[in-house]
Symmetry: C2
Subunit: 576 residues, 2 copies
Amino acid sequence: MRQSKLLLNTLRESPGDAETASHQLLLRAGLIRQLAAGIYTYMPLGRRVLRKAEQIVREEMDRAGALELLMPALQPAELWQESGRYEVYGPELMRLSDRHGREFALGPTHEEVITTLVKQEINSYRKLPVTLYQIQTKYRDERRPRFGLLRGREFLMKDAYSFDKDFEGLDRSYWEMYHAYHRIFERCGMNFRAVEADAGAIGGEGGTHEFMALAEIGEDTIAACTCCDYAANLEKAESGSSSKFIIGTGTGNLEKPEKFHTPNIKTIDQLVASLGVKTTEILKTIVFVADGTLVAVVIRGDQEINELKVKNFLGAEMIEIADPADVQAWTGVPVGFVGPHGLNLPILLDHTAAGMEQGIAGANELDYHYRHLVPARDMKQAKIGDFRTVKEGDPCPRCEEGTLKYYRGIEVGHVFKLGTKYSAKLGATYLDASGQAQSMIMGCYGIGVSRILSAVIEQNHDDNGIIWPLALAPYQVHLIPVSHNDETQMQLAMNLYRLLQEKGIEVLLDDRDERAGVKFKDADLIGLPARIVIGKDAGQGWVEFAERRTPGIKTTIPVEEVLERIRMNLGLALFP
Amino acid sequence: MRQSKLLLNTLRESPGDAETASHQLLLRAGLIRQLAAGIYTYMPLGRRVLRKAEQIVREEMDRAGALELLMPALQPAELWQESGRYEVYGPELMRLSDRHGREFALGPTHEEVITTLVKQEINSYRKLPVTLYQIQTKYRDERRPRFGLLRGREFLMKDAYSFDKDFEGLDRSYWEMYHAYHRIFERCGMNFRAVEADAGAIGGEGGTHEFMALAEIGEDTIAACTCCDYAANLEKAESGSSSKFIIGTGTGNLEKPEKFHTPNIKTIDQLVASLGVKTTEILKTIVFVADGTLVAVVIRGDQEINELKVKNFLGAEMIEIADPADVQAWTGVPVGFVGPHGLNLPILLDHTAAGMEQGIAGANELDYHYRHLVPARDMKQAKIGDFRTVKEGDPCPRCEEGTLKYYRGIEVGHVFKLGTKYSAKLGATYLDASGQAQSMIMGCYGIGVSRILSAVIEQNHDDNGIIWPLALAPYQVHLIPVSHNDETQMQLAMNLYRLLQEKGIEVLLDDRDERAGVKFKDADLIGLPARIVIGKDAGQGWVEFAERRTPGIKTTIPVEEVLERIRMNLGLALFP
């Protein structure tokens, strides 16, 4: 491609509202342009990258035995009403009416459509399992679109859905997709982790993994092992230490709980300051409302309670910290003085608290605390479990050697066991070998195809621009004659241009009448993997070869070696 | 691909609401399924065909130098208000509001978006010309969706837009697209004509061609030459005879106009019946309202007036047949007795009327007509022109030998000179060489990619099913072992399956445990170009080879010849 024909306008400055490196570079390198908040046009260069990502996804889905189809974006509202999501989904679901007043949703996802389709097409266990996928434009009316392609309102997704006759089958389908996702993100040159995650709003039973591209700007925190491949969302992460806390046993030698006066001392910080104790000597008690019922959770004073773990332990639908007034009304105790000893609420005791020999806690009486509270002796009615948020440095729950470390991640993929959530509601059944109708067992699997671009740029750039991994680069080689007016240079450039194209290499030829500095700056910004500069040594048949990922290293080579350099350094197979 | 894994359900019966062969076969062969009126899911087999059509379009667009981008479907309403189309487009434009109440349109076309984009990206003549295209989902809320993919509400289109600095450039861009369209539809194996057409609602200046797939079910009538490649929409078509009518000159010998009594004789049929004359002896006069002004059009009694030609001749925005009451109010004459002689209206005289030696016409007086009206003598104030609709058998306006014939056509593509319609309204200007701001000169070019499937099936089927052209066939070869339980057959089938795949052939293996009759019926329906049946001679190494387009011809060949047959008969290049 000749750069003069590419409708490629680079920007020296970042538009003001672009906060992240990837958003800035997508705009500056002329890959996308904004049409409205969260709605973008892919310019020719960006379209090429997007198509490459699409193609990698498609190839790996096909390899995994999934079948490609294409479902409509316009979805009848009745389907969403049937599944119960029409109201639940809220304002993120874009809605419209047709000329006859029939309501439609612009699909953010396709569980309803695919389940209805498969219900019509499959009736026997003989036709199961099947995994179907599409690469299709999705719509979500984000409250606050941001970060360019990361949180857009119109975006490209690959969504896949598996249908099995039993949960063993779902396991197989799930892991098939899981491994395909590994291949996809590896091929995209992405630094990612497959992260254990919570089911979330999409609902369903069983396991789920999020594929997270590691990046500072990520909106999710991940706890991952420094040694093995254990990784989980912070809210889901477990720690090797949690269950290793041994419940104190030496109760015989310990004093009885002693109530003491602590006027106006309501917080852990105040306790620490006034008593001169450590936070690890305090039993922290927080009261939650879970599905309308109060419950107290007790944890060691230096730890944080993980609401999700409490919610899952209780099997609750909804959980939140209780309103202080409600706590006082129910227990008769002001919040700052609630404690596990003598409280008339169910108590959940985190392992960290259960493992304390003794501790200080509220005495369930205004301006009083207890000391010498022994969990093993004084909180026998409590249920013990893992209710804490892991911390960096915690031992890994999987391996012996590693410790947990926090990372920030961008969710680029998601695999999810749905079970019968949709098949039961929408009546997608099959007849089993004995002729009985059974609900199909489903899984769903998403990849944010347009998101891949942002995530990869976020991980692959420097101060001067993008550093494209070969597999996603819009072109593989940038050919830059230094002077547009130098006939020798232009002749050599054209010869090389034709030669590389004949060998099947995707070449961008900077044939613009621009100063060398402008060309080099643009080339850095666009970030093609290899650059060949044809300059003053062109007459002697020498050119300069450089790779974008190692900007400091430039070698002058005879033009005859160009192909071999590209083959060796980029690892490209050439046409014969 | 193994057919047992393809989620392919054929239907023996056509669904009741499918009126056309292509709609029926798309459903019966399991290529598409309806989700809502005019909204379809492409099943795996249909998705493959759609992708092949996409790829042909993409390759030819790229070859023509057009750049691919991808614009959003969600378009801010303000852009449509700016172009003036938000109201004009009417209920076919699907509209919605986002969570903040901002209005959007779901794009049926992208003139507004692309013009705004190019306005931002291009400011100098140096960056022109450029042609941009996308392959993208479009939305149009058809009042009456029908014929499957032919008139849908969500469909796949290729739309391209050219930007030039002058009309000569537009000509070049236009014909580049015109020729690319020829290549595309030829590669799709389509029988089509490029048809001269009228500008229509999309508006603009200059030429336009519709690419019409010839098919009985087409909604448009085309007049095309039997010899040369002249073809035009019926409303636009000209005839070689139109301008060849010589205005009668022998006025000296003819009698003066004679008024005669014709009580209650208001129509041509009544004149013919009561006077015993031919329709060709009558001057038919119809009064139109063009932009609020009355005008009379006179044509020979056996001909039909073409409103579009009248409209274009007058340069009018709106035209319709005048209300009889208005005619009487304005001229004082009841409609059945209006005639060209002595009428106080402007008169347009069609060549067929101008060429008559003499004729009969209304006398502009109740119950009276004239005879011996001589156009060359009595209608000197009239403007002569081509105001008639061509008829079959008319001489071709282009070549000497041919005559016109009517065809029905399905519009599959459209190339259109827009001129400055959008660039002027949306302010898309460039600076010319002298630094003056000029409006860009635009063209737009559409192809109904999903429509191609319907058109091609409409042209390529028989009573038993589809007959895919090789370029669009979902698979190229259908491999059918007759008996699923015969190990020899299955072994040979598997060997051939692997061999053909290794050679780069797209094979569908019917590995289902079905009766042979079912397999053959399905194979006919699906319509892959070549079929290899592995039957009772499998043990001797013989198979049956047949092509779908010649169902009567089946040859038994040694298995060693299979590759050569495929290579020769289908014209496929094989991998080494």
